[in-house]
């Protein structure tokens, strides 16, 4: 029984203990938790090495939000959604603009964004032609201002997600059609939890995003009206077939 239970715990990154006696948390678990919390807290305050990213992703146009420090960024999300006054963005009217945003986990951007972009460029022509922006102290909605200034039909923001305990470097991707400041979050499609510790892999995330980019162009919109019906992760058992047929 014990061996069965410990094998089962490998099926999830969640902190399961499978304790049939329901005993209090062992000290070892408590200290592990505190170690992870400390690491997540530290990840928020790391800096993106943009030079290193540029070496893998290619040329970047740098922009900043109006938040001047991490502390200000945390307390004032409104500043993180607004472009700095000195921002200069070339209007090349691309079908797609890509924004790399540090968000709440700079390490997530550094690790996952190059993989997502490489996979996406393989699958999607618009992604190959997309200008790429590097945004510091940035929230998701900063992409609206960037996309509008670039004259982009849609904008894809890759952003470091708020660090969790298990994973402090998870990437989120937000696709917004006709971006402009003031766009509501319900008008975006999101693919989240992109990381290499049991999350969505960069390749699968790119497949979903590629599907969404094509679907958004066809529908002329993103958001709750655009249902993500890209093929489900093939490792899942698939009553999905039933849905397609009904």
């Amino acid at each position: 029984m014990t061996r069965t239970l410990s094998k089962l715990s490998e099926l999830t990154p969640a902190r399961v203990r499978l304790d049939a006696k329901a005993t209090p948390l062992p000290l070892r678990n408590l200290l592990n938790f505190q170690e992870d919390h400390a690491s997540a807290r530290d990840a928020i305050f790391e800096k993106v090495d943009w030079t290193q990213l540029e070496a893998t992703v290619g040329p970047l146009h740098h922009v900043r939000s109006r938040a001047h420090s991490r502390e200000e960024y945390l307390r004032r999300p409104d500043l993180g959604r607004t472009l700095s006054r000195d921002a200069s963005i070339p209007s090349s009217r691309p079908k797609l603009a890509i924004v790399l945003a540090d968000g709440l986990s700079p390490p997530a951007l550094v690790r996952q964004a190059p993989l997502v972009i490489a996979a996406l460029r393989e699958q999607n022509e618009d992604a190959r032609d997309a200008p790429v922006f590097a945004a510091s102290e940035a929230r998701v909605a900063l992409g609206d201002a960037v996309g509008e200034a670039a004259g982009a039909e849609m904008v894809l923001v890759l952003i470091g997600e708020r660090p969790g305990l298990s994973v402090s470097s998870s990437l989120g991707a937000y696709l917004t059609y006709a971006p402009r400041p003031g766009t509501r979050d319900s008008a975006r499609n999101c693919v989240s939890n992109i990381h290499d510790k049991g999350g969505l892999t960069a390749e699968k995330a790119a497949s979903r995003l590629s599907w969404l980019i094509v679907a958004a162009q066809r529908a002329g919109q993103t958001g709750v009206a655009l249902k993500d019906e890209s093929p489900v992760d093939p490792s899942l058992p698939s009553p999905t077939q039933d849905i397609k047929e009904t």
């Binding site: 203990r17 938790f33 660090p163 305990l165 979050d185 319900s186 249902k227």
Partner: protein, 457 residues
């Protein structure tokens, strides 16, 4: 527009609208400072409370903090107000209501009768005149019972949502997390998954997984995949096993539009859920989540403080006779609730306001990694809420949600709370757990849980 004023140490402070008065009277929150509506000094805050104490409750029926003409939530609040239930309070000021609530006249029955007579702005206002202990003391007197496949909220019960999230929505990983919680007796309120993606096929698979586990274990409880309400309706059309219909809601029309919902859509979803007739002993089937700061986050706050807007979200929830409502109090981040102290205060306010308005109120006692809080703060809030008689709390394996990336309570915390308060699970669920243990334990009894969940052959 009316103006209000209060005097502190000989200095007179003036507030040029009801919204300004409420915002100035509210306990300090970073979100109200972000919105630019907070009191600019501690003395101004007390002056506002003095003015608020003398404000007739009737004022809230004639002057709305968000105009009736432009906001569907205000129209819902005013149009559905029960004047008869309000009659005993019709000549009271906010301060009188505070005294009445703390007195013996306010008991379980009189509070239940009063609920429909209160509107959110009244209960938000009175909460601003109350200390933490007052919020606990009054909420404890309220009892809100709801039912679907079990009975939740009865006095002496403390229920839990078991939240078995998985970063890739893997059904076996989810089943293991469910097992982890069931061993601690969690999950009577709902076994509810936040899906990693809103992909319809994915949600369909998760619903089937949950329903299969529930049916195999013959568990008297309900399941939910927390996807957008329009997805739930679509899934119901495709005959998916949807027990509860979930939606995040907020206190203004604009903020709800930010969530992609209107009152009409919620009504349609509720009716669709009712027509599925899946409840066995009750028909409460809506599940709502809320949280202070949602309206500001959607830029739809109309200059109203976040706690008052949160209470308005409860008016939306109560229109659909929900099974469960919970505030996700520490999820939103430091720009709205800066630290453990603000999260604790907000959790108690939300629970109090929800209960006073007649809601089956639960709380996700939680924090994120970018806020100044840790497990010690959560221990304090969870202990206070258990004392206050909260209907249910959220629990996840090891207090760590591996998908959403934030920390809630762990299953061990539930064991702690039941030990110190003597509270128990929903009666049907508790009987089921006891039968399982009498039969040799959840794991080893006849047709042990592992086989029943399909985890081992």
């Amino acid at each position: 527009m009316a103006t209000y004023s209060g005097t502190v140490r000989g200095e007179r402070f003036t507030f040029n609208s009801l919204a300004r008065l409420l915002a100035a009277a509210t306990p300090e929150k970073s979100g109200d400072q972000l919105a630019g509506v907070a009191a600019s000094s501690a003395r101004e805050r007390v002056a506002a409370r003095r003015a608020l104490a003398d404000l007739p409750l009737r004022t809230f029926l004639s002057e709305s903090v968000v105009p009736y003409e432009i906001d569907a939530v205000t129209r819902l609040i005013i149009d559905s107000h029960d004047e008869a239930a309000f009659t005993p309070f019709s000549s009271m000021c906010v301060g009188d209501l505070r005294d009445w609530l703390l007195g013996d006249m306010a008991d379980t029955m009189s509070l239940q009768q009063a609920a429909a007579g209160f509107i959110p702005e009244m209960v938000a206002a009175v909460s601003k005149l109350m200390r933490n202990q007052d919020l606990i003391r009054v909420a404890r007197k309220c009892e809100v019972v709801t039912a679907f496949r079990n009975t939740l909220g009865g006095r002496g019960t403390l229920s839990t949502r078991l939240q078995p999230n998985h970063p890739a929505d893997d059904p076996r990983g989810i089943a293991v997390a469910i097992l982890d919680g069931l061993l601690f007796g969690a999950g009577d309120a709902v076994i509810g998954i936040n899906p990693a993606t809103d992909n319809l096929g994915n949600c369909y698979d998760l619903l089937c997984t949950l329903d299969d586990i529930r049916a195999r274990l013959q568990m008297p409880g309900q399941t939910c995949v927390l996807t957008h309400v329009t997805n739930a309706m679509e899934l119901l059309k495709r005959a998916a096993p949807v027990d509860l219909i979930f939606q995040s809601v907020a206190g203004t029309q604009g903020a709800n539009e930010g969530f992609g919902v209107t009152l009409d859509i919620l009504q349609e979803a509720w009716e669709a859920g009712l027509s599925a007739q899946r409840g066995t002993i009750g028909n409460n089937l809506m599940y709502f989540e809320t949280g202070q700061g949602a309206a500001l986050s959607a830029d739809a706050h109309h200059g109203v403080d976040q706690q008052t807007l949160e209470a308005r979200a409860y008016a939306v929830a109560r229109a659909y006779d929900p099974l469960l409502v919970n505030t996700v109090v520490g999820f939103i981040g430091p720009e709205y609730l800066y630290d453990g102290r603000q999260i604790i205060r907000a959790g108690l306010e939300d629970h109090f306001c929800g209960k006073l308005l007649g809601l089956p109120m639960g709380v996700d006692v939680c924090y994120t990694n970018h806020v100044q809080a840790d497990q010690d703060d959560m221990d304090v809030l969870a202990t206070l809420l258990a004392s206050a008689g909260v209907n249910f709390l959220i629990t996840v394996p090891g207090a760590d949600d591996a998908m959403l990336g934030y920390q809630s309570l762990g299953f061990e915390d539930l064991a702690y709370l039941r030990e110190i308060t003597g509270s128990r699970a929903a009666p049907e669920f508790e009987a089921w757990l006891e039968a399982a243990h009498a039969g040799g334990g959840l794991l080893e009894g006849p047709g042990g849980i592992l086989e029943n969940m399909g985890l081992v052959a």
